[in-house]
């Protein structure tokens, strides 16, 4: 029995009905990792011993009739920028080489509290800056559908491990599309919850007002399952809201009849791959068939999102990444003259080119004399973009558009062209700028490469996203496609 082929909710049933042991579940995933990950490069760290110990502990508990958590025995893999006690947290950067986190992120506490099992840490673009995972200082990660192609990014490892059946669930972070875009390129489900829905405590900050921890799964039900247990208020993250987390499971099967879906015309313009466009329009027809009212809408200000995003996220990053200075942890230059020299050399050696580019850009836009022209203006644009979405979301329950303008591109294809790389997040970035929730689900194939459909909802209405996404999934088979790896 290839237990790694099952979804989390299927595994959960098998485990609770004592059909399989947790240790078998965990072993089957590590076997899969052992056989395919050398070709894919999703994992940076494997927690085999810890995972198997935990599996046996849960098996014992089950055999003795003890009470177990609601994720009991379910493997979850973690992007390497979310703190897990006792494990590395490298952010795929040389500057955090040797750093072991002494504490658990809020989401990790939650998963451990529900008896979930952490398999390991996943590759990513360095400090979550990038859209292809090519900016990792550690290794290349390849798309399971075509290993010559990128998996997307920055949570490339997360998307790949779920897509390639190395883990049923994974966590990523999404600052401008880093969960949804790789989910789209790898043919899996990826949710970026509302800003404030999931505590960021323990996730290494990139853009503090944009970052959000998100979930990867092979179907909507699994995605909802994991999100159910990590969402909610946390005293340690002031930006989380004390709003009740609804039961997502019960919202999945609600009737779509009368649901209003907006299709923003600006998200179908220049740069959109024709195959992707067709697949998304085909999906719109499915929604109509399921009873939804699909209508065109307009989000004219989204055009300015990318500019505002790169100013705000880089400004925040330039400050957030200051602490990687070689003084307390991580990489420190071996030769230096004084404290300032430690900073210069450690940071020059430790950060990769994209991270340096963003730090410089962010430092510039916050500098005296440029603050008003760039940073302050970007904040104003951000407010207008929020208003733009709010206006549309008064008339519609959700907005549907492509997740990414293209399917997975070739490794190296865009790495020399920063702007074209940035443009691959053009449909996901506005959602972060506005702080809204968005989900990407598989909605078609172009040349044997997955296409992702993005559903954007109102603040704290992840339940609506799950409902619409689940309805689509029940009517199609795209989520059942398996990469040949």
């Amino acid at each position: 029995m290839d237990l790694n082929l099952y979804t989390a909710h299927e595994l959960s049933d098998l485990i609770s009905n004592k059909k399989v042991k947790v240790e078998e579940v965990v072993n089957s995933h590590f076997n899969r990792i052992d056989s395919v990950d050398s070709k894919l490069g999703a994992y940076l760290y494997l927690a085999k011993t810890e995972a198997i110990d935990k599996a046996r502990e849960i098996d014992n508990k089950i055999s003795q009739g003890g009470k177990t958590g609601r994720l009991a025995g379910i493997p979850v893999s973690i992007k390497d920028n979310i703190s897990v006690q006792g494990m590395q947290n490298s952010c795929a950067s040389k500057i955090l080489k040797g750093y072991i986190s002494p504490y658990d992120a809020h989401v990790i506490e939650k998963i451990k509290g529900e008896d979930g099992i952490i398999l390991g840490k996943l590759n990513m673009d360095e400090f979550a800056m990038g859209s292809s995972t090519e900016n990792s200082a550690c290794r290349v990660t390849r798309n399971p559908w075509d290993t010559e192609r990128v998996p997307g990014g920055s949570s490339g490892g997360s998307a790949v491990c779920v897509s390639a059946f190395e883990s049923p669930l994974a966590l990523g972070t999404d600052t401008g599309g880093s969960v949804r875009q790789p989910a789209s390129l790898c043919g899996v489900v990826g949710l970026k919850p509302t800003y404030g829905r999931v505590s960021r405590y323990g996730a290494v900050a990139f853009g503090s007002t944009l970052d959000q921890i998100g979930t990867f799964a092979r179907d909507v039900e699994d995605c909802a399952l994991l999100n159910q247990y990590i969402a909610g208020v946390d005293q340690r993250d002031s930006t989380t809201a004390n709003i009740e987390v609804p039961n997502y499971q019960s919202s999945l099967t609600k009737d779509l009849k009368g649901k209003r879906i907006g299709v923003p015309k600006e998200y179908f313009g220049e740069g959109l791959d024709e195959g992707v466009r067709k697949a998304v329009f085909e999906a719109l027809r499915v929604f109509e068939e399921n009873g939804a009212i699909v209508k065109e809408c307009s989000l004219p200000l989204s055009d300015y999102s990318l500019a505002a995003y790169y100013i705000i996220s880089s400004a925040e990053a330039s400050s957030n990444l200051a602490r990687f200075d070689g003084i307390r942890y991580g990489h420190r230059a071996t030769e230096f003259n004084d404290a300032v020299d430690i900073y210069y050399k450690s940071r020059s050696q430790g950060f990769g080119p994209e991270v340096k580019r963003r730090i410089m850009l962010g430092t510039y836009v916050l500098s005296a004399g440029y603050y008003d022209a760039y940073y302050k203006k970007a904040l104003k644009v951000r407010n207008l973009i929020k208003q733009d979405f709010s206006r549309v979301l008064k008339d519609f329950d959700a907005i549907v558009c492509p997740t990414s303008p293209t399917t997975a591109f070739k490794i190296g294809e865009k790495s020399g062209d920063v702007l074209s790389m940035y443009l691959s997040d053009i449909y996901t970035v506005p959602v972060n700028v506005a702080g809204l929730p968005g989900i990407s689900i598989p909605c078609g194939m172009v040349n044997n490469l997955p296409v992702g459909l993005q559903i954007i909802g109102n603040y704290y209405r992840e339940d609506v996203l799950f409902n619409i996404a689940y309805s689509f999934e029940k009517s199609t088979n795209w989520h059942k496609m398996k990469p040949n790896i």
Binding site: Y103, A205, S208, S238, S318, S319, A322, I327, Y371
Partner: protein, 476 residues
């Protein structure tokens, strides 16, 4: 040419909250290095700050006591700079929207006139860690990292180092009385930087200013400003161009030393702290905090002068210490004799406390017992001199004045007939004194009175003794 200086102060006070401003670690002073730390105050990857509400409360309390307007909408900002004692390489502070603005402190100059020193702003922020320079290299202790601070920024309204001292003294006493800071300058919980410039007396155009760091005692504050005034005047008189700069007071050599020029000044790239939400301060909360503000020392002194009629100087002395002011206030109320209460407390009681190195908290008697003593004297039960003996006994034993008097038989004798017998006897026994008196030596009366008091062990009512001696002597 006559010159005058223009001075403004930036005062940092460590707030005496139990926990740090952005995490739950203890703020206790001392302790093993890096023992009061957590992922937040160590700036570990992924950690997030949360704002300690008590810090905001203390900030507002201070603002209200310093006559500031309190904002309803505050915001935390980041100040970016690299330094090894700064765990995140930015400080979370307040830039554009501080919690308090536009306050003032009235200081009283030596000639008795009042001068208002305006306060520009008060904001809350975090302290940094501490560098320890050892033979093995420089180490960092992050125990102090995240200890809450308030920064109180004055306008350049002071014109002499003395005014700056008066301002700082008053500010310190207010912060201490509010209970928001222990204000221990020697431990660094109250720190001061200053701006100073020099201009022609009466001019309205300020000179080029220097920012002086490290004015961490009243002595260094005055000396540093005096040094700067001389330096500025010399430069102006010699036609040198002064440049805006930051200097540091060096206590060992008694000079200020250049740290950096304006060109070298940091660009701190302030911007909003996205990890903390907007500070919404309701009028109800401000009102609630206002109710917790105790009467401040200077307000109390003013009240003592106004309602008890005691001299300004006495009121000042009695309000230097909170416990003393409370003891006096109660005694004055119960005894209804504020002057006597003040005399006892500032006189014999203070003297005995100084001798024994005790404070008001250590006194074994209460304001009502001191009031009882005052009443006994005022009612003529005992004399003032006996009172001095009684207070000594009260100080030693804590016994009530009445029981001391009874025990020692110190009750004043007001029986004229009895006293007259003694008067007659003493006069008879001292013919020489009577003769002296007849020859115009009025002092002889005092000698006779002294002998009578001795004979009666001080218990005879001195007024009766005096009256009887006078009339008896004149009869002769």
């Amino acid at each position: 040419m006559e010159f005058e200086s223009v001075i403004g102060l930036e005062v940092h006070a460590e707030l005496s909250t139990k926990t740090k401003i952005y995490c739950g670690c203890s703020t206790e002073f001392g302790g093993e290095p890096n023992s009061h730390v957590c992922p937040v105050c160590l700036g570990l990857p992924g950690s997030l700050p949360t704002l300690n509400k008590k810090v905001v409360e203390y900030g507002i309390k201070t603002g209200l006591a310093l006559n500031c307007s309190i904002t309803n909408l505050g915001r935390m900002d980041r100040k970016n700079y690299f330094y090894p004692d700064c765990s995140k390489d930015y400080q979370i502070t307040q830039d554009e929207l501080p919690i308090c603005r536009d306050g003032y402190i009235d200081i009283e100059l030596q000639d008795g006139t009042k001068k208002r020193i305006r306060i520009e702003r008060i904001h809350i922020e975090e302290d940094a860690g501490k560098l320890l320079h050892t033979a093995a290299g420089t180490l960092v202790d992050f125990n102090r990292s995240g200890v809450p601070l308030i920064e109180i920024v004055s306008w350049p309204d002071m014109r002499t180092p003395e005014e700056a001292t008066l301002y700082l003294q008053k500010l310190k006493s207010i912060l201490f009385s509010l209970g928001v800071s222990d204000c221990k300058m020697e431990q660094g919980s109250l720190r001061c930087d200053g701006n100073i410039s020099v201009m022609k007396k009466g001019s309205t155009k300020f000179g080029v200013r220097a920012e002086i760091k490290n004015l961490n005692s009243f002595k260094s504050l005055e000396k540093a400003f005096e040094f700067e005034i001389v330096r500025h005047i010399k430069a102006i008189e010699q036609g040198e161009v002064l440049t805006q700069e930051t200097r540091r007071w060096d206590e060992s050599s008694n000079i200020t030393i250049n740290m950096r020029s304006k060109e070298e000044a940091n660009d701190y790239r302030y911007f909003p702290e996205g990890d903390l939400v907007t500070l919404n301060i309701s009028d109800e909360w401000i009102k609630e905090i206002k109710n917790t503000i105790p009467e401040l020392p200077y307000e109390k002194a003013e009240r003592f002068v106004a309602s008890y009629g005691i001299p300004k100087y006495d009121a000042g002395v009695l309000t230097l210490n909170f416990e003393m002011s409370e003891f006096f206030d109660e005694t004055a109320k119960i005894s209804k004799d504020p002057k006597a209460a003040s005399n006892w407390l500032m006189g014999d009681i203070s003297r005995m406390m100084n001798e024994k190195h005790l404070t008001v908290e250590n006194l074994k008697f209460s304001p009502s017992e001191l009031s009882e003593l005052i009443k006994l004297i005022n009612d003529g039960i005992i004399s003032n001199n006996i009172g001095k003996k009684v207070i000594e006994n009260m100080f030693e034993t804590g016994k009530a004045p009445k029981s001391i008097i009874e025990e020692k038989g110190l009750i004043q004798n007001n029986n004229e007939a009895e006293i007259l017998d003694v008067v007659k006897k003493i006069i008879q026994d001292n013919p020489k004194s009577v003769e002296d008196f007849k020859n115009g030596k009025k002092r002889a009366i005092g000698f006779i009175v002294g002998l009578i008091m001795k004979e009666t062990k001080g218990k005879a009512n001195p007024q009766i003794v005096n009256a009887l001696v006078n009339s008896e002597m004149n009869k002769i």
